[in-house]
Symmetry: C2
């Protein structure tokens, strides 16, 4: 796992990466995994702040969750991509990262421990019995229900604002009877022992992050990687948004047909309120080219044709498929 660095170590040449804080969060883990431990990490207090950091060029990249394999779309991210107030016109998607959501049970450090961070001197079962209070983000309880009902039935649970915050609270306790549910990253950052790992019910639970950049910034232009060639599969992904006239029946179908006409396969569709009229939507279409032939003009042509059947449309970015290339 990559180690964290202090902002004091930053230099002008380092990549500046924005993500939703606090440090030790899953977003932090995704940022380091995507941009390396040498990057200057810029934790933000909201998704909006991360978008603003890219638009104003005060960060080079941002890693923002778009969807979770179990819970679905992160609507705050879609709403920022909808850009209803036209604040983020220079932001483009340049990549993606799939982060496996693995939870651990974390306790205060013991001096004598194994390489996994599990203390050797007493049994794990004895350590479980000494725990009288558990801390985590409300969503994590449901994600670890089997483990918790087996080992911690009836133990007091305290909701906190993030899994990283749970780890921080346990690290500052003096009695040593608390435990946090958080990721390995938080264990490392808050110097806690990992008493159990992969305690989540669903081992496939994964969050997909978008990597964002400012399309006018020269120093990040290389993030638009060429598609990787493997097994003959198309390796580009594209996200488009558009709003159709809600009084014009058939215009949604007409807009979707245009993708096929340009050789783009629809992979998923989402919708959010347009913010203009009630029951009018902004649609988000993700698509991939049917052939491996890719040119940057392709999406310009799609946008040109969409103009005839939509009120507005935007190419939010094209990037290499990180899932297909695994």
């Amino acid at each position: 796992m990559a180690f964290l660095q202090s902002p004091a170590l930053s230099s002008a040449s380092k990549l500046r990466v924005a993500f939703l804080g606090p440090l030790g969060s899953f977003s932090h883990e995704a940022a380091v995994a995507s941009f390396g431990s040498e990057a200057l990490l810029l934790p933000q207090s909201s998704f909006h702040d991360a978008f603003a950091a890219i638009q104003s060029n005060s960060a080079d990249y941002a890693a923002i969750p778009l969807e979770n394999s179990s819970n679905g779309a992160v609507v705050q991210t879609y709403d920022l991509l909808a850009d209803r107030e036209k604040l983020y016109g220079d932001i483009t998607i340049c990549g993606e990262y799939y982060l496996a959501v693995h939870h651990c049970l974390l306790v205060k450090q013991s001096g004598n421990k194994s390489s996994l961070g599990v203390p050797k001197d007493i049994t794990t079962d004895a350590r479980y019995k000494s725990i009288t209070k558990l801390y985590t983000h409300p969503q994590a309880w449901g994600q670890c229900e089997k483990f918790l009902s087996k080992h911690f039935k009836g133990v007091e649970r305290q909701d906190v604002s993030s899994t990283s915050k749970a780890a921080e609270i346990v690290s500052q306790e003096t009695d040593g009877h608390g435990a946090a549910i958080a990721n390995k990253f938080a264990a490392e950052y808050h110097k806690l022992d990992i008493l159990a790992q992969n305690i989540e019910d669903n081992p496939e639970n994964t969050t997909r992050f978008l990597l964002l950049r400012n399309k006018k910034a020269q120093n990040t232009a290389q993030c638009n990687r060429e598609p990787r060639q493997s097994l003959g599969k198309p390796k580009h992904k594209t996200l488009m948004s558009f709003i159709v006239d809600h009084n014009s029946p058939g215009s949604l179908a007409d807009a979707l047909v245009i993708f096929k006409q340009h050789g783009m396969n629809l992979t998923t569709i989402n919708s959010r309120p347009s913010g203009i009229h009630p029951w009018q939507y902004v649609f988000f279409v993700e698509c991939q080219p049917t052939s491996e032939t890719w040119s940057d003009d392709l999406m310009d042509n799609v946008i040109e044709d969409l103009k005839a059947v939509t009120k507005s449309s935007r190419h939010l970015g094209s990037w290499s498929d990180a899932l297909g290339s695994k």
Copy 2:
């Protein structure tokens, strides 16, 4: 406004209507507005319980929120409609109701009041000044931001689990210095004074409810109303769900084309995780016929054609458009 009734008054002939409680909630308001004050009201502790009540025939109808004009889809409702565990095969949508989300500022009742419930004996401004603590659901703070920042800057705010719960707390206070943000329905139910009404920032904020029934129940079959004829507009709405093979590029577009082939206009599309494979989705397509000619066979034909390009599909119901007929 319709008055509430006690379950003790119920009789076998009364319609039994399930909705998400507690009493005095916006769902309660939608249930009474849709089925009348004579219905037997059955508040449920979760959306899941409301669905189960319809499937088991322990309720005749349910009123369940599907989307809000500002916040978008209610994902819990879409997940229950996806019916991943095949628990709700007999549930069908038979109607819809649009509820305007109007918030009020509610305080303990004064003996001397106007017909609107606003006390006459002291000025509203003096009543505002006497309030030292506000209660409501976390979402409502943001929906009433302008009013609150004008009149209640710096006043203590307490989050509670529902707007109706906020009204209940204020009704039980003894010092009279608390106020709740909730709907007129909660004011009536908890016998509170309305000190200000329509305090929401966005007067157009509306929640759309689906009305559900069990398709095997004879006593509710008449809920499948004939389409109303007005201004030549098509008046049927239909919701369909389907899952496409995520390894078969183009199948999503192929499925969407089928709607057009059968004369159905797509009005909106949503997606949720399928629960089968990560990054496979269940799509929800809402559509309306392009002509006024409607037959119940139409959707059977769509389903038949969808079989060729989807892994599964379901007609979730067809009903009369409540928005177009306003």
